[in-house]
């Protein structure tokens, strides 16, 4: 049973830059946790602190109840898969996979057995005696996974392991990683900036922004109930539509648009209305209208991008929104569509601090 516990973890670099600003987190045994956030948000730094590749300025990290702040990376019982795989170029695939075991003093027979087993599991059996240069990107990725698996660590760490692969392979490896993690039942922390990867892999997702955890929870929980504007705009593809509004007591107002049916919202602050593209429907007597700029055909569905007519916006700018429709709906460019809003799923945030108010 190996959980990971982070308490008040901070990272301040010698030059004063603060990369992680106090993170508390409890990860249960066998959980698949994904850190997601824009680049430079501190998610990789946090992972590397768990790995032992970055020192911990403040706070404590413990694995399986043991505080590991001062424990050397090799003794932490964690294994990491790097973004560029970081395979040892002068060793064969077998050498790469057995290196860590050899240094831990495992017997030859034991190493052989473990490597064979992992190689079978990852289907890299045929090139155990090749060197990394002779392998394709996907194969190298598997070897990197294999190197982590044979160690039988308490925690797997993944640092954007799929970002060097092409799109098709990425989806395939994503599924495989998930399946492998289920099967081995090992606590895993996975860092990515790709929100599709984050949504599909995670048991729980931690959205990180500027060194802090914005929100942590199950992927759907974050999608349906984001607590901040940042989480709402980061999770979901295509992105949530955001319209600047104010509340006049019973209607949300944006320029010429007035949406009724809202109550108990602050009237003294600028607000932002967030509606997912799936929550807008084409409908003859809709409350808002859209002028079509672009139609993206994705096969099963079409995404229509356009300007929200009448909405308040910066001078000369229009509020861009997106709706999701079925594959048959192919409006002409510059056509006007009437849209209905699913108000029960509308999200409202304060503009000043990004906190959700509805």
């Amino acid at each position: 049973m190996a959980g990971v516990e982070l308490t008040g973890v901070r990272k301040i670099y010698p030059n004063g830059a603060e990369a992680v600003r106090g993170v508390d987190m409890t990860i249960e045994h066998g959980e698949f946790i994904v850190f997601v956030g824009p680049s430079g948000c501190g998610k990789s730094t946090l992972l590397r602190m768990v790995a032992g590749l970055e020192s911990i300025t403040e706070g404590e990290i413990s694995i399986d109840g043991r505080i590991i702040n001062e424990v050397s990376p090799a003794d932490r019982d964690v294994a990491m898969v790097f973004q560029n795989y970081a395979l040892y170029p002068h060793m064969t695939v077998r050498g790469n996979m057995s290196y860590g075991l050899k240094n831990r003093g495992n017997s030859k027979a034991e190493i052989h057995e473990k490597v064979e087993e992992a190689a079978k599991m990852l289907r890299i059996h045929d090139f155990l005696d090749r060197r990394p240069q002779q392998l394709s990107g996907g194969q190298r990725q598997r070897v990197a996974m294999g190197r982590a698996i044979v160690r039988e660590p308490k925690v797997f760490l993944f640092d954007e392991p799929l970002s060097n692969l092409d799109a098709k392979l990425r989806v395939q490896m994503r599924i495989e990683i998930k399946r492998l993690q289920r099967r081995m039942d090992v606590t895993s922390i996975y860092v990515t900036h790709d929100q599709t990867e984050a949504m599909t892999l995670a048991d729980r997702l931690a959205v990180i922004n500027d060194g802090r955890i914005e929100q942590m929870g199950a992927p759907l929980e974050l999608y349906n109930n984001p607590t901040t504007l940042f989480v709402a705009s980061f999770i979901g593809s295509p992105q949530i539509n955001l319209v600047p509004v104010v509340f006049d007591g019973d209607k949300l107002i944006s320029g010429d648009i007035a949406l009724s049916g809202f109550k108990d919202l602050p009237t003294d602050a600028d607000l932002v209305l967030g509606i997912r593209p799936d929550d807008l429907t084409q409908n003859g007597e809709g409350e808002v209208s859209l002028r079509v700029d672009l139609v993206e055909q994705h096969g099963a569905e079409n995404l229509i991008y356009g300007a929200l007519l009448g909405a308040a916006a910066e001078e000369g700018e229009e509020t861009e929104i997106c709706i999701k429709v079925d594959q048959q709906t192919l409006p002409k460019i510059d056509a006007t569509l009437k849209l209905g809003v699913n108000k029960s799923r509308a999200l409202v945030f304060r503009k000043d601090n990004g906190q959700r108010v509805l």
Binding site: L53, S72, A86, G100
Partner: protein, 292 residues
């Protein structure tokens, strides 16, 4: 299938002509001259010469002084190569770990790079001067009856010390850039796989430096054979009793000081063959163990 034939223009030959001329004038022609000379015996004033077949060669290779020089050259170049590589590698690994003031530290270590071998020799002369040399005094102060003018071992010590010192900075630069060329993540992966830093160095860092090490080994052997001429000429001049004569220095001494052009030419031809054999050996047997 018709083979595509492009029209040739003479202009490319013009571009490589200067290089060809330089090689011909300064390398091919003198080499040919040396081979030709090595079959001749000249009188002391250079007025007449006589074709003597391989006599110069047999005189050379079977003479005691040549064998002595060959022995010294073997010991000298092995020690100079190994020591300057080892010291430079150690310094580079340590310098690579320095965080504060790294630039100053590295620049200081690279400085000696710009010093020409004869200048290094002259500096050595001052440091080992029996009257004013600090190192000379130090050696005697610690109880070593040191006198490089009389003792063959001490003289060898001086030329090796100066030769190594001069070469360390060159090797240092290459090793340092080699170390910086090792991907950071590979080093990190190794930290997670192996706790022992020494073991990590020999299993990961050193093998990844192998191409650099091999290149430097070739360069250093060449240096020890040929470029140390300036150091020996300014310090010991092969003394005492020819004990610090390298093969190259002996070629110079016999040819220019001893006026034995034929014998000296024969020696340089033999030297060329030795170096050729050595290079072939290096590339055939050592390079095989290098993974690029």
């Amino acid at each position: 299938m018709k083979r595509v034939q492009f029209e040739h223009s003479p202009i490319p030959y013009l571009f490589i002509a200067p290089q060809i001329v330089i090689i011909a004038v300064f390398f091919l022609w003198p080499a040919a001259q040396a081979i030709y000379q090595s079959f001749l015996l000249e009188d002391a004033f250079g007025l007449s010469s006589q074709f003597v077949w391989f006599k110069n060669y047999s005189d050379t290779v079977f003479s005691n002084s040549w064998l002595q020089a060959a022995g010294f050259t073997a010991v000298f170049s092995t020690l100079v190569t190994l020591l300057s590589l080892a010291i430079a590698l150690l310094l580079a690994v340590k310098a690579n770990e320095v965080i504060h003031g790294a630039r100053t530290y590295k620049t200081t270590l690279m400085w000696a790079y710009a010093i020409a071998p004869p200048v290094a020799g002259l500096m050595g002369n001052l440091m080992f001067h029996p009257l004013i040399g600090d190192l000379y005094k130090l050696m005697n102060a610690i109880g070593w009856d040191f006198d490089h003018k009389l003792d063959a071992f001490d003289a060898s010590f001086v030329v090796i010390l100066i030769s190594v010192w001069k070469q360390v900075s060159v090797n240092f630069i290459f090793f340092l850039s080699g170390l910086q060329g090792i991907p950071h993540s590979v080093v990190e992966a190794a930290t997670m796989d192996c706790k022992n830093a020494t073991r990590r160095f020999w299993t990961i860092t050193f093998p990844l430096l192998a191409p650099t090490t091999f290149f430097l080994m070739v360069i250093n052997i060449t240096y020890a054979f040929f470029e140390t001429f300036g150091i020996i000429d300014t310090t010991t001049r092969g003394a005492p009793g020819g004990s610090t004569n390298t093969l190259v220095y002996k070629v110079f001494q016999d040819g220019f000081r001893g006026a034995d052009l034929g014998g000296s030419s024969a020696q340089s031809v033999v030297l060329m063959l030795v170096v050729l054999a050595l290079t072939v050996l290096q590339f055939r047997f050592i390079e095989r163990k290098v993974h690029y």
